[in-house]
Each structure stands twice: as C-alpha cells, then as structure tokens.
C-alpha cells in the first residue's frame, strides 16, 4: 500500500528543515527524506549562523540549539603572500541578549534542527536517496521514487531542498546541469584548540565570544574565491573556496590552496599547536541571480542551495536556505488551507514572497558581480592585493625617503599593477557598477 502525504521534502539541510518544520507545525502531514546516515551527516558550512532567519522559524532556538560562539568581532583581510591588510570591527553591542550571528558546527546543528522537525510531527527518514520524481499524465509531480524497495511515495507537493548539486531536479529536467563557473569548491578543516587558547589568541573576553575572519586576495592564487577562519568553542574552522572552472583552468588543487593559507605568516600563529580533526569539501552555488533555475512547477518547488540561493559577497547561504524553506512552506500551507492544488500558477505566492523579501533583492543587487569578478580575476585576486600590500609597506617603512616621494611611489605601485590609470579606473568602475 503506498502512502500519501501533504508534502514530501527532499533533503534535511537548513532549507529542508525549515520547510518541513514550518509545515508540520501547521498540521500538514510531512515526509522528509535525506540520504545521509543521519540528517546533516555530510553537510558542510563555515559556519556562521544568522539568528534572524532561524528566529522567524523557531523563536526560542537559543534555549537548546548547539551554538558555538556569538560573533563579537568581524575581520576582513586582504592577503598577499607575506602580509595582510585588514579591518577589524568589534563592538560590545554584539554582546546582547539575543546575539545576531553565531558560529556553529553543522553536523550538530543539523541534528538538533532535525529533532525539532520530528517533534513538530514530520516523519523523517534517512539513509534513503530520492532517485526520481513521479508524475501524472498531465506532467504534474505527484511523488518521489527512492532507492529502497516498496514503490513510490506520494504527496500533493515535493519540496526540492536537495542542496547545490540538485540532481533530482536535473534528472527530472526541471533545471540544467550546474555550470563549472557557477559553483565554487570549498575545502575546510576543523582544528582543535583549547578554549583558553582560542580566547587568548583572538583576544576574547568570554567562552561564548567569537571572531570571524573573511579573507580575500592571493589566498586563492589568482582564482575567483575567498578564504575564511572562524572561532568555535574549542576549535577553529579554516577553509578556502574557488570557482570550479578556475581550478580546471589553473590545475591547482584545493588542498594546496588551503595548505598555503594555513602556512601564511598571518595565519600560522593562530593555528599553532592545534590538531586537525576534520577535513571536508563541498560545493557552494555562486552563480548568483542569473543562475537561479525555474523555482516552481505543478506539484514541485525548489528552495535553498538547490535554487542557487547564496549571497557569496556577504557569505550568506544558510539564512537564504532557511528563509526560502520557510516561505515555500507558508505558500504550501496557504494553498492547503484554501484547498487549492499546488500548481505552478498557485505557487505565485511563493515567487512573490521571495521577490518582496531580502532574498531576491540581494540576489538581484549582485547579479552582475559573478561575471565581473570572473572577467577581472587577475586584477582583483592578484594584482591589486599585491599592490595594496606593497603600497602600504612603502608608507609604513621609515627609511629617509621624503613623504612626498613615498606618495609618488605608492601611486606608482598601484598604477603599475594595472599598466595605466585608465585600466585602474575602469576596474573600479566595473566593480562599483556590479556592486550597486
């Protein structure tokens, strides 16, 4: 006998959990399927959790969610091979009752979230891969096929929260194959370091305070990408990611980048004496707005990474995943209450909700950026970081050179990095326009 649910959610990452939780809480019958040994077992994130998105789903999540540290200080570093130029922003305002950002360990966080989903009343099954979608004669999706015996399982709607690869949607012809220049491959290590050492090295007052560092520049060896270093309770997460197309072109291996990053003179002292506990790799959708596939159809919709919802500039992904998951759920709940079919036409409420929220507005804002970064790769990820470092070094070194000459030298360095002032101006203009 086959089963029938109000909704089937494919995937138990943040987007799928947000969707399943919201629907189950509203009384819908929900089946969530994940291929992992347990929910989240293979999921990867830096990871910064943005409280706002989760708060709108589980307001009192702070009571029992496994959180590492709340972020009191944000650093942004521009690296060349020997130096870093950085900004640090730390404020005691971040030590608030309901902090805004936390570092987390995804394996633990996803487990917790999944428990909430079960408690809300959804059925969650793991170690099961969805292999295909089942359609009726009219072409509407009415269920899923899995890699287990026992036939398909049916539902009024299938929520595709399957993450960046999106193989189910792709195989069903709902979206094209991922393009190598629309995804980054990130590698990440977790290094054990005692709580006291973490606090000491990052100048932290308490065991709950944390620092996050976003890193640009030669850390990616001229490829389009970024690095990061985040403090957890008693470990440090460090990683770097670049476009898959760039790896293919340069022949560089991700772990080589990470090794160089770890050896960088500004980074090595932060890791000294730590013990590597975990090494993971994962894709990040970075194609931006222009890479977003069709999001809805009769009986199906897409949320989270599967829909390319990542704001690479601000390193936001999980919050877009949770927000799109929640909005999808709210649309499905509304249709269920009105006893309307989950058709592409009726799912306009989901598309509208996305368009009105920060999700689509931010995606749209940066829509030209991926192409701009890719085209100006050599300048932005090589020449400028080096020029910046060497100009600043010229400024800070006291060596009997007159300051006016120093300024000339510095300008010369910047100009030389791109050949002419015209080239520099064009670069700035292009980036500014893509940013707007």
């Amino acid at each position: 006998m086959s089963e029938h649910f109000d909704a089937i959610v494919v995937g138990a990452g943040p987007s799928g959990n947000a969707a399943a939780y919201t629907m189950a809480k509203a009384g819908l019958s929900v089946l969530q399927i994940d291929r992992g040994e347990y929910p989240g077992s293979k999921n990867v994130q830096g990871a910064i959790l943005y409280a706002d998105a989760l708060e709108r789903i589980i307001p009192d999540f702070r009571e029992d969610a496994p959180l590492e540290r709340h972020v009191v200080e944000q650093r942004i570093w521009m690296l060349d091979d020997r130096a870093h130029t950085g900004t640090h922003y730390r404020s005691d305002d971040f030590n608030e009752a309901r902090p805004n950002r936390y570092t987390i360990l995804r394996a633990q966080f996803d487990k917790w979230f999944s428990k909430k989903v079960r408690e809300a009343g959804a059925l969650v099954i793991t170690e099961t891969t969805v292999t295909g979608l089942v359609r009726n004669e009219a072409g509407a999706v009415i269920g899923v096929q899995t890699d287990r015996e026992g036939g398909p399982v049916f539902a009024r709607v299938v929520v595709l929260a399957e993450g960046v690869n999106g193989l189910v949607a792709q195989r069903a012809g709902l979206r094209p194959e991922l393009k190598p220049n629309h995804v980054a491959l990130a590698v990440k290590e977790t290094h054990f370091l005692s709580e006291e050492k973490v606090q000491e090295r990052f100048n932290l007052a308490g065991e709950d305070d944390g620092v996050v560092i976003e890193v640009l520049g030669t850390v990616t060896s001229g490829m389009v990408g970024t690095g990061f270093l985040y403090t957890n309770k008693e470990s440090i997460s460090i990683g770097v990611g670049c476009l898959v197309s760039d790896y293919a072109e340069t022949g560089m291996a991700p772990y080589e980048l990470l090794d160089r990053f770890k050896r960088h003179p500004s980074v090595a002292p932060l890791l000294r004496g730590s013990e590597m506990k975990e090494y993971v790799a994962h894709l990040i959708p970075e194609g931006g707005y222009n890479a977003i596939p069709k999001l809805t159809g009769d009986g199906w919709l897409i949320v989270g990474d599967a829909g390319q919802f990542v704001n690479a500039v601000h390193r936001e992904g999980s919050n877009l995943a949770m927000t799109t998951g929640r909005m999808a759920a709210e649309a499905i709940i509304a249709l269920r209450k009105a006893d309307l079919p989950v058709s592409e036409a009726n799912l306009k409420i989901y598309r509208d909700a996305l368009a009105e929220s920060f999700v689509m507005q931010d995606m749209k804002k940066y829509r030209h950026l991926p192409a701009t970064l890719e085209k100006n790769r050599d300048a932005l990820f090589g020449a400028y970081p080096r020029a910046l470092s060497s100009a600043l070094q010229t400024l800070f070194r006291v060596d009997g050179t007159a300051k006016r000459d120093k300024e000339k030298q510095m300008l010369g360095i910047v100009k030389k990095s791109r050949g002419s002032w015209w080239a520099v101006a064009t670069d700035m203009f292009k980036v500014a326009r893509a940013w707007r």
């Binding site: 006998m1 089963e3 089946l31 040994e37 347990y38 077992s41 360990l105 394996a107 633990q108 059925l123 969650v124 099954i125 170690e127 099961t128 899995t146 287990r148 015996e149 026992g150 036939g151 399982v153 054990f192 005692s194 013990e275 506990k277």
Partner: protein, 298 residues
C-alpha cells in the same frame, strides 16, 4: 512488512519464534577522538552506530522470523539518545524496540550490564516466553564479549557463542542446530530452545529495509523503561554500584612519530626501484645495512 490502514505497526505474530536481539549503541570507531588535553574519549559530537556485530545478530533474527514467523524485539541499555539506534533497527525490520535508560544504569560494567539486560528480558518474557536471545559476539568499544554469556548464565539459557551459521530449527521438537567457530575447526551443536546465541561477523548480508519499514520505524514508539519499569528491584546491582570493575586509567596510545616518506626514483627496472628504497632505509638506519652484510657473510 506492510502497514495497515491506520499506519500502526502490524500486530506481532503470536505463533512462530519470539526473538529478542540485544543491541548496543557505540561511538563510530572510525571517528573516535581523544581529547588532546584531558586524554578522555570525546563522546560528544562523535557519531554513534549500532555495534556492527549486533547488526549481524539482528539480520539473523529477522531471517528466522521471516522463515518461521514470530516477532523480533530489539533491546538496548543506554542513554536516551540510544533511541536512535533502536529506531534504526526498526527501520531494518524489527517489530518492537525497548530502551532501558536510567541514571542508575550509568557506569555499568559487564556484570551490571548483563544484570540489567537479563532483568529486562525477564520482563519482556512476561508477555510471551522468549525462544532465542541474540547478542553480538562482542562490542567495538568495550570489547569484552562477556555480556552475552552473562545474560545466559543469569537466565539459565543454553549459550551458543561465536555462532557462524544457524543450520536448522525444529519448532516441534524445540531444537536448533548451529555452527560455532572454535579453535581448530567448526563445531556443529544441537541445543534446546530457549537459548542465547552470540553471533560472529560476516554470518549474513544485512538487508536494507523497505520504504514501508522506514515509515513504520519513524512512526513507531520506542518503549522506554526506567530501571524500575524494566523490573529492577535491587538498584545496588545496577550501574556503578553494581560494577566491581574499576577503570583505573584511560589513555591514548602515543601516535606513531615517524612520518611517511615518499621515495621518488627515475629507475624503471624493479630491481633498481628496490635498490632506491633500500638506499633510503640504509641511510636512515645504517645498522640495518651492517647487519645484513654480516648475515650475508656468515
């Protein structure tokens, strides 16, 4: 196994075999980490699995049930999170799951563990007498292989340890024949039911539950018993107080200090490659070369 219309688990068969499989939730040994400062095993955040040997025991029990009818109950003593292991076993096809969990069980050694499990088995048997108790050969964390025999002794069951195959069961005569791996060969043993069997690895291939099994497992309630509900009347026999074994020290073996080294050579012929490797070995350990020369000379 199919659900009825209400989605309730199917009513266990009262004919056939009543089987209980003891399963232990253990840390995934591939991912165990020792805290570098305190030198204790870091259980927090380490994924847990069903003790691998117990999965073979479970599969064997499910096969007997499928062949002779009856029901399979999985029993576990552990913290509340051990419910995950039981739910997984339900997803593989077990009919019923019982978790015995109580602060008073904490710190159990093998004596206290087999006492607690034997007591729970007696309580389970009140519904219907048990025909076979299965355990794994041993666990991958405690490794003692004592709990199975400990239970058998307390319940007065015939014990068949290190079983590598179950040849036949005669329900009429209430007899079974098993193969047991013993030093120097295989013993073929006949025993009366009820009995306790501890199972070797590799005795069968584990099944994958159907989608219906998983749905049933996701819906099923795991029976959770406190010590008292499990039938324990003397808490002094449980947990730390009922455990004469004292762990004096736990330590991490010091990691091997010598890093691996890659030998690169332009040589093509095997003998030349071997020579390149030897050169490096001798360079690191000159005594080796001298010893070898001495032996050749002798």
């Amino acid at each position: 196994m199919t659900d009825d219309l209400t989605g309730n688990p199917p009513k266990p068969d009262t004919t056939g075999l009543n089987i209980v499989v003891c399963i232990k939730q253990v840390p995934d040994s591939a991912q165990i980490r020792v805290h570098p400062v305190t030198n204790t095993i870091m259980r927090q955040g380490v994924p847990t699995i069903i003790n691998p040997y117990d999965l073979y025991a479970l599969e064997e029990a499910l096969r007997l049930r499928d062949q002779y009818g009856g029901a399979v109950t999985v029993l576990c003593m552990g913290p509340p999170m051990a419910e995950d292991a039981l739910r997984r076993a339900l997803g593989l096809g077990a009919d019923r799951a019982v978790l015995i969990t109580d602060r008073r069980f904490a710190g159990s050694d093998t004596l206290a563990t087999s006492f607690a499990l034997a007591t729970a088995l007696t309580t389970i048997a009140q519904d219907r007498p048990i025909d076979i108790v299965f355990t794994g050969k041993q666990t991958i964390d405690g490794d003692t292989a004592q709990v199975g025999p400990g239970i058998a002794r307390r319940l007065g069951l015939n014990q068949l340890t290190y079983v590598s195959a179950i040849d036949s069961i005669d329900l009429g005569k209430r007899e079974l024949v098993v193969r047991r791996r013993a030093e120097g060969g295989v013993q073929v043993l006949q025993s009366r039911l009820p009995c306790l069997i501890t199972v070797m690895e590799g005795i069968n291939d584990l099944r994958r539950g159907s989608i219906q099994d998983l749905l049933r497992a996701a819906r099923a309630d795991v029976t959770v018993w406190s010590a008292e509900q499990a039938g324990v009347t003397n808490p002094m026999m449980c947990g730390l107080r009922g455990s004469p074994t004292v762990v004096k020290k736990v330590f991490a073996p010091s990691p091997r200090s010598e890093p691996a080294e890659m030998v690169t050579t332009e040589a093509k012929r095997p003998a030349q490659v071997a020579e390149a490797v030897l050169d490096l070995l001798f360079a690191r350990n000159p005594k080796l070369e001298a010893d070898l020369a001495a032996r050749k000379g002798a």
